[in-house]
Symmetry: D2
Subunit: 471 residues, 4 copies
């Protein structure tokens, strides 16, 4: 919901399991715990060793699989997917997993989190060879590459196909008899494996393991291909060109606070970012408040370090659903608010530090600063627990185009004026790296910082399109 406010949208979440009699049910709960990664659609494909069965639809996990429909999905293994909410485009066709049935060579189901940067080129090439596409999704590209690889052995076909796609991807690929799991050579998206009795599970975030009662085993490594079947699990490499660059926004904004990424707890990382921010940009104030939900941890950290009391200065309405009626322009001007309310009893007459995790277009920040002033705040100091986002993301996060990014076009002082704050400070890139505190060396220190620095860990092609530009 708040995602809509901010203009930051995650692409997707994936979950898979092999070797459990209630595979579809487990996947349902797993997807449910990943619902924050995508609300537009959801799907599950199961295998009973013999046949793949697919169910998917537009809407929340609850809506797609409610009313007993889940019972139609039997089998010992499953993969599932939640898809993000985008304004235009999309629709049912793009809901994943995609299922490709073949009359003689077995079926293939694919679920993908991420974004390929050379999808357009590969697609052109495939089409000139006679391939036809029914979706605008990158995943379909991989399916064609697998089928056309010429390899009879499925594993080799997949490895071969993976070498031809560039960008960010966590792939789950399931046939009647195998589950394959692949992560791109930069490890741009989180992906972990766990165990649950005799079953293996795989998920975009570790919170899914806690929810289904599985035990975290380890993170999938960049460039790794895992093959899971009734004989067990096998790890192979499909690329030697490894350079870890985990998406920083996963720590800052997207992932659930109870997930661990690469061994670092997300809530703790955010709290540390808040502390670093407090060190970097001191301010004298009466109360600290965070923009719910994603900035709460950073705000707590900020308050803890500065000793300024942490308060619930902003309240999010939990009942703003998709059918919510927008107020008319007249009512909006009269002050009808939804989604977020400032707590007058807390901020009236106070100097407020408002901690937020990021600024994308600036419109939300301006609105919140305004809310706080209307509720009586005498000063509003905005502190952002990440550096300015000045570059678009090509790896699966819908951060808007270059033109819309306020930090791509304005100085910090200009942004302060635009959003109407008394002061404004962003966290530094160094502060970000140290706050997260992962032990990586090398070119990117283990983090993708492209949206802040413009240094992309992969090649970017002239026709690489942003997710929301696809139709």
């Amino acid at each position: 919901m708040l995602a809509e406010i901010k203009g930051l949208n995650e692409e997707c979440g994936v979950f898979g399991i092999w070797g459990h009699p209630e595979a579809a049910q487990i996947t349902y709960y797993g997807l449910h715990s990943l619902q924050h990664r995508g609300q537009e659609g959801a799907g599950i494909v199961t295998t009973d060793g013999d046949k793949l069965t697919c169910m998917k639809g537009l809407g929340l996990v609850n809506e797609v699989f409610g009313n007993g429909k889940l019972n139609e999905l039997s089998g010992k293994a499953a993969i599932g997917h939640v898809r993000y909410a985008t304004a235009g485009g999309g629709g049912y066709e793009n809901v994943q997993p995609l299922l490709f049935k073949s009359s003689h060579s077995g079926s293939l189901a694919l679920a993908h989190n991420g974004n390929l940067v050379n999808a357009t080129q590969v697609k052109h090439q495939l089409e000139s060879q006679g391939s036809i596409f029914q979706t605008t999704s990158d995943t379909e590209v991989l399916a064609h590459l697998i089928r056309r690889s010429g390899h009879i052995d499925m594993k080799e076909a997949v490895k071969n196909a993976l070498t031809m796609v560039k960008g960010a991807y966590a792939f789950l690929i399931m046939t009647e008899t195998e589950l394959m799991v692949a992560l791109d050579p930069n490890g741009l998206r989180p992906l972990s494996i766990g165990v649950m009795g005799d079953a293996y599970v795989v998920a975009s975030e570790t919170c899914a393991f806690d929810v289904v009662g599985a035990k975290f085993e380890r993170d999938v490594q960049p460039g790794e291909l895992l093959i899971i079947n009734d004989e067990g699990i096998r790890s192979e490499r499909f690329s030697m060109n490894i350079n870890r660059a985990m998406c920083s926004m996963e720590y800052i904004y997207f992932s659930r606070p109870d997930s661990n990424i690469d061994g670092v707890n997300v809530h703790t990382a955010r709290k540390n970012l808040g502390k670093r921010l407090a060190v970097e940009s001191e301010i004298d104030a009466d109360v600290v408040t965070g923009v719910p939900d994603s900035s709460i941890s950073a705000a707590i950290g900020f308050a803890e370090l500065t000793g300024i009391p942490y308060e619930l200065g902003l309240i999010k309405n939990r009942y703003v659903g998709r059918t919510f009626i927008q107020p008319s322009q007249a009512l909006r001007e009269q002050g009808v608010k939804m989604k977020l309310s400032a707590v007058r009893g807390v901020v009236e007459g106070k100097r407020v530090v408002m901690v937020d995790d990021s600024i994308v277009r600036g419109t939300t920040s301006r609105r919140i600063v305004n809310l706080l002033r209307e509720a009586g705040a005498t000063e509003v100091h905005v502190r952002i627990s990440s550096p300015p986002i000045a570059n678009p993301c090509f790896y699966g996060i819908d951060t808007s185009t270059h033109e819309e990014l306020i930090a791509a076009n304005h100085s910090v002082e200009e942004i302060r004026q635009i959003i109407g704050a008394d002061s404004l400070a962003f966290l530094s890139v160094e502060g970000l790296l140290e706050g997260i505190g992962r032990p990586y060396e090398g070119e990117f220190k283990g983090q993708c910082l492209a949206c802040f620095t413009g240094r992309y860990p992969t090649e970017i092609y002239p026709d690489t399109v942003l997710p929301h530009e696809k139709v």
Copy 2:
């Protein structure tokens, strides 16, 4: 949602407006901000000066009034109601406002928050005089009393009827030409009035005023009857037997943190309760966490006073809707969780203070203590920011029967063992009164404490029924 977990359910919320061209829209937003007070059904009645129009239905405010249906409600004034979720009973018939059409004496719409303690008796009496009832709601009783009062003047008829009902009530009564607002002589339920340009608004909580852009004017007084029409607003008394006893659970649990009740901000009151609790029951620990959402403020206060860091140790899943599929017994035992997750990265290896606002049946507390232990907490100290609930509520809060209340049947030490905590402490009644800090003298110090002390501010009749016992 959590309400369901806990077994504590608010009865309702009401909102009214007189003198605004978009009365129904404003009421919609007002009800939306009161949605936490009732999720089973919602309704709005408008008047255009000539005719009352009603729309209501089962479901959330969004669902009942979505798809353009709101536009069918025109008029300059409106009253609305949200109704709480109860297991059995209920259904469409009991969704409010109730509308009574009369062919010769004008129509009457009623919305009610609270519970009457002599409804059964009055109903018996009315039925023996030939009245027939279509609902099981107390509100219908008041309508009959008004119509049978013999007074031709509506205001006198209402005042007369009000003297015959006992218990807790905030009533909105609307005819074609007038809006009447009444609060019971103990002021058991919150009710405030505000202004919005030339219009008057009235709401169960002040958060509704902030959301619609209205200015808070004052709280409705116990025993007060307000008459609002095109000429303005008039205040009268219908009872001289005033003894303020505001429901304590409104501060502790029900109201939104951004509401002010009787001049006291709810979040601030809760934070103070957390501080008092910390003073009363010290503990040495590593982290403080609150049970979301209602206990967050108290946990912050507890952390602030003790200096123990406040952390997000428990996460609530925002997407648990009504259609959520419950895991099978087998899966539940395997550890499939929903709604609430413990954050392993925060609690593992830590001594945890878990602050909660209340314990009703104890089952939820036991489950949460268990969650924390499974996530690696070495000690779990439960601190409750209210006294033990040992008596049922007859005034509109569905606290379960005497048999189900754990504190009615067990000592604190027994409860500690049942929920499996390393230590357990409740706030004292004095701590509660001081924490809230309202300036009342007199028998009840301005607060209803009946659920803690058993001293009810009104007479209780032998056949007074709990809300969930009605069929």
Copy 3:
């Protein structure tokens, strides 16, 4: 559906059963067979001897009771109701049966087919005595009268109440332990009883008996009150002022062709009307066609007597549902048609006799004549198997007001010109009586002919309102 086209709407249909373990299911199928009598809403109330349970909703029987909801209705007896589709007004509140719960004197469920002519007066009187009304339905009036009768014995209370209402009614009245069935002293609405093993059934039309596998026993008599309970069935009289006047439109238009009314099969009656019509208004033509569905029987009779071949010259689209999208004005002018199509292959170059059962406002007739001409008919001769409707109905059929009735304001020749026919003839009143052929003597010969003749079998009050005038 066609009802909408024509502007003729039946009020309702009722079904009841006593003494069957699957009472609700049987009632569901019974109501389903009466669906043509009302499509706006449906409801069922069951009793298990101890408690009445109600389920109702807007929509078709299928929609209201689908998805397993029917299983919630247990008990050995039930009454049900289907309600007609009216433009404005209505809504959930008026869906029947109405259920009145009483805390000390037992509950009461009522289902009503018909219309009371003195409802407004009785309501006024009741309101002046303090009664309040939640619906605009006449049924609620009867409930008040029963409760206020002063009689402790239910049967006496009902008889007393029935003497106070005037007009057309078939009432089903159910308490926890009894089913009462009453028909007005003129027997204006059809109502029959049957047996089904040990159970008794009652229905608006005998087609319901065939559908549920019950055996027709006899028609309920005008002024009769039947009391059915676990001891059996008992017949009493509540009025001595009997004068049978069965609604003629039931034969002509409303009832299902497979129903028998007063011993006369509806299809056969219609076919006879078609034959009489052929005798009264001969014409030389090539084909006979009927307007589906209600005029098919008359058309067959017309063809049979004249020897002119009967053909399917008009086809009704079976899939025109409530969500059907109306064509824009531009498309309508271009000729986009729905609901009804003329069969070019049948009427092209032919002189066509178009048999219809009635003309209300004339707009539909004009449209159908036009359809036939566009499809190539060289002549269109309209034959109506009933007399001109020149007077409104106050007994439960929504025939529009006096102003809208074309035959109230125009001669036959004028109507012919308005609808654009080459010739037009109506059946005579004598032809109608003979065609139906019921063996009654007396003032009305057993038939209500008021809409044709203006002679109403009951008193009509100055403030008697037409059904669609209620709000």
Copy 4:
């Protein structure tokens, strides 16, 4: 609906238009008039000259495009499709038109009525070349063939692809700038073109032209490819091996009575079949009745020729929708009926001729004979207006397998005994050909009679699958 009873299901219906500003609306009404050809799903693709837009879904045309959704489909041209109801399989993926988007060579939308007999083989071949399939529909095969043809010119690519598929097909193929229309060399499925001002329309049945106000131009010829674009219409041949064999069941059962196929009106053809049947199998009886809706015309013809009165002896319930609740076994045995009722008032004590259009499995016939006997018929003589169906259909009609066809396994006398009729007669093949009366010479006399004679007009491959056998 009755289709379900009988076990005969049409595959689909198609509609297309080029050159009208309200193309989607027109297509909606066109599809609506073809709804009897398929009720499982519906879809429309429009082009605005630049981009193809698709909307489709499961359900009736009304349901898929209701609630204003149609407005999202803009453009000057459109193709649409209705899909038949099959028990298993199917689902959203197979709803047509299928849309294939290409990033560099333009998009392609396809709608198909019919069934290919060599789909399995072609699919195998394509898959071995790397093609992947997302649906089980034959249409996807054609899309692959078009894309892989190697021809740059779209028209040539389509012609080339058409030569590779065998079986029955009416194809609509739309790109951004062209609408192509193709009919198989045997012309097994009906397909006609019409004009509507400057626009061209194409439809499976001519009834669609009458509904949208278009003028019938001519039938599409077997082996013809029409290319329609902004310059006009062009006709080409893609096969020289023409041998007309129109599906006989279109005349007998499927098409709407108001459609003309190959110049012959369907109602008239059916009436003639009824007359021929009367000549071939005389019988002495009191009434003739037809099984609604498809056998009404034949029954009228039978009655007309014999002079036995035609009556409505069987009534179909119009409100049996998809959500209808099936009676339990116990209730079914007690006689609860739905869908079809016998009219006791018509058949009691009579010798009844029951005319039906066909017998597939015999179960429906047995049930209807039984219905008539229960309603009092003294004799039931069944007359079938087509020859015995003894062979499965591979061309798009779901007639069940060989094992299920009663006439494939039993003599006429055996069938008579099974269905419990007093006498039974089928129409002869010669009677069928003469009754329809089309002026064709040659091998098949213009009609496909394969289901009666076993002589299929195309080759049948060992792995040709029946429609309902696809998964």
